[in-house]
Point group: C2
Chain length 417, copies 2
Amino acid sequence: MIQCPRGTRDFLPNEMERRRHYENILRRTAGIFGFREIATPIFEETELFTTRSGPNILNEIYSFKDKGDRDIALRPELTAPVMRMFVNGMSNEPRPLKLFYFGQCFRYERPQSGRYREFFQFGAELIGNANAETDAEAIALAASMIKSLGLLDYKIRMGHIGVLRGLLATAGIPRDGMAEVLQKLDKKLYDEARPMLEAAGADSDAIDLIFKITGTVGGKEVLDMLDLVPDEAASYLRELTEILEAMNVRNVEIDLGVVRGLDYYTGMVFEAEAPSLGAEKQICGGGSYSLSELFGGEKVFSTGFAIGFDRILLAMEKEGQTFEGRGVDAYVVPVSDDVRTDAAKIVSMLRSGGVSADIDIMRRKMAKALKHASSVNAKYAIIVGKNELAEDSVTVRDMTTGDQRTVRLNDLASMFN
Amino acid sequence: MIQCPRGTRDFLPNEMERRRHYENILRRTAGIFGFREIATPIFEETELFTTRSGPNILNEIYSFKDKGDRDIALRPELTAPVMRMFVNGMSNEPRPLKLFYFGQCFRYERPQSGRYREFFQFGAELIGNANAETDAEAIALAASMIKSLGLLDYKIRMGHIGVLRGLLATAGIPRDGMAEVLQKLDKKLYDEARPMLEAAGADSDAIDLIFKITGTVGGKEVLDMLDLVPDEAASYLRELTEILEAMNVRNVEIDLGVVRGLDYYTGMVFEAEAPSLGAEKQICGGGSYSLSELFGGEKVFSTGFAIGFDRILLAMEKEGQTFEGRGVDAYVVPVSDDVRTDAAKIVSMLRSGGVSADIDIMRRKMAKALKHASSVNAKYAIIVGKNELAEDSVTVRDMTTGDQRTVRLNDLASMFN
């Protein structure tokens, strides 16, 4: 028996209805913020992703040659495709561009709870500007999306990549050696970071300060305490925090240890997490960056983020949130073969009026047909019998209470308004 | 500059809004018919598609080995994945199962008008039953979907694979040689079909009859004229036509030449076409089939179809249908730097109330900010100035007429109800 490939999933009707419901909430929230949806292909030239993330990405993506011997890869993320699209076809549009996307991404990694080889990301990119209002707009959207789904327990941690970069530069780490150290600091692997810093000539005071900064977390009072951080980043974060307060964005704290893995971030970086998820608790990540110049465009400042859709749904489950599907309004049951044509007319009449209606097509006996009506969560069964039809009527059964009454065909559609 | 791969597309905001609009109409229509959405992975084991379509499919699909040396392929269609999913996880569900899907499919072929390497299909499968009501339900849904999009000029052609199979058997063509002949007849390549039929020993009367049947098109009166076709298929099509009439399905004609390419069809087959598209006019195809036993399940009769979403949108364009995007309700413009925080409060207040609202984050001068408000199709500009704020008010500019008036902050949100 052929199964779906390892790390991928089939979505059955109940789960799919739930996913579309929450997907549409996210889409509506993005629209309310003035972001507009775009879409890019499922695969891209492999070079696009190695340009963004370095050659190591090849170890964890689905890359292959097509029949024309081109190197292509299933997209592992959507920031690079969106920036490619921007460079190709949107660079002359009025700025800022406020774009969002929703779709599958692919990584070849070991499947585990909340981690799949085919996973779904919802993300936004605000292209063409770099200031605190821009970053606030992105964080406010991320926060509003998470909140709109109804997730209760989450936290947004916001930092500034300039803080650690400044301290690393002062400690003598060259620009092209920073990424490696930052990755260790991101994971709080101090024992591995220390020898790197020492090798670059950093003294133990500088190292202690760097480690202290990565553990600095709190409200904006954190910035007052710290005259240790470069002035510019501190005042930037202060300004950003004030705008977020004005925008009534909750659950945000400053965490100077937020680093993000990638070299192209230019300033503010942020992550959101849902503690209910345990070790794999990150549900969102982003920051301000500059990437378009790598793809042949002019240098353009942007801010963006991506939400892990699968993981945030899992967090909602862990919080005990349930979702009720809608079922159909009506299930039409012809009592005998000689009324099948009339039953077909009735179901079509209901559907034309926008009523969701199903019909028995298996020529079942009444009891079995009503059982099927239950299994498709029908609110009402419309029982079509010869005697009732002679008086232009049908029997309507409330599937919750079991009550039955006679309804004239002319009044049937209006029952569902 | 990296481009999107040949035969794939980026969808910009206006086009994407249009696509989502029509996608949702199709989704709603399927829901009204009691069909429920499912989703399967973008790629599958390659064997799934060769099992359904034969090894030749390998010439036109994206197939490759993953890092675990598995043969996988980007899905070229969705009937096989849905039936795999049915066998894996839904075979114990109450029947009939009424499922629909929407998603990307992939074929490595020469791109041309309405044909892409990444294309979108909307389809439905009705699993677990074989009778005229089942087929009527599928055709009625396809017709209702096409109609719900607003396409004006289209035609549904419906036939029965049993008619030609019966005549071919009578003419002496063995069962396993039929597919090849049927493919020629599907394309009306009579000159190529004739030697095949002659080689199998068919006489010229039998051959003439077969060719005549493939050209037989019309209303149900066609079936009366034809006592040439096997009784069973003719009476089946008559019954089906009567149900479709009761369901008020228009634009359907009988075309005994509809063959479809594949071996697994068992009875009714149908296609829909939009003449405005010229040579590539087919927008929908389907029929009744049996496929699950090939994937290790029990034999189950089903009826399904797929609509070419890209092509039907193209047909609507050719008919001159236009789509207007919605734009945002409000665009908030802070007049000076000292009201930026207040402007942030105002835009957040509007958004909390469900009003789609954008805000100037580029610190533009008034004239330029209003120009941007136009470019994002804002209905109103909300101009936030210090003097007005002192009286808890803002200036609201109607972006269509240019009229301006003062509105109190407390009344602002209700403007948009």
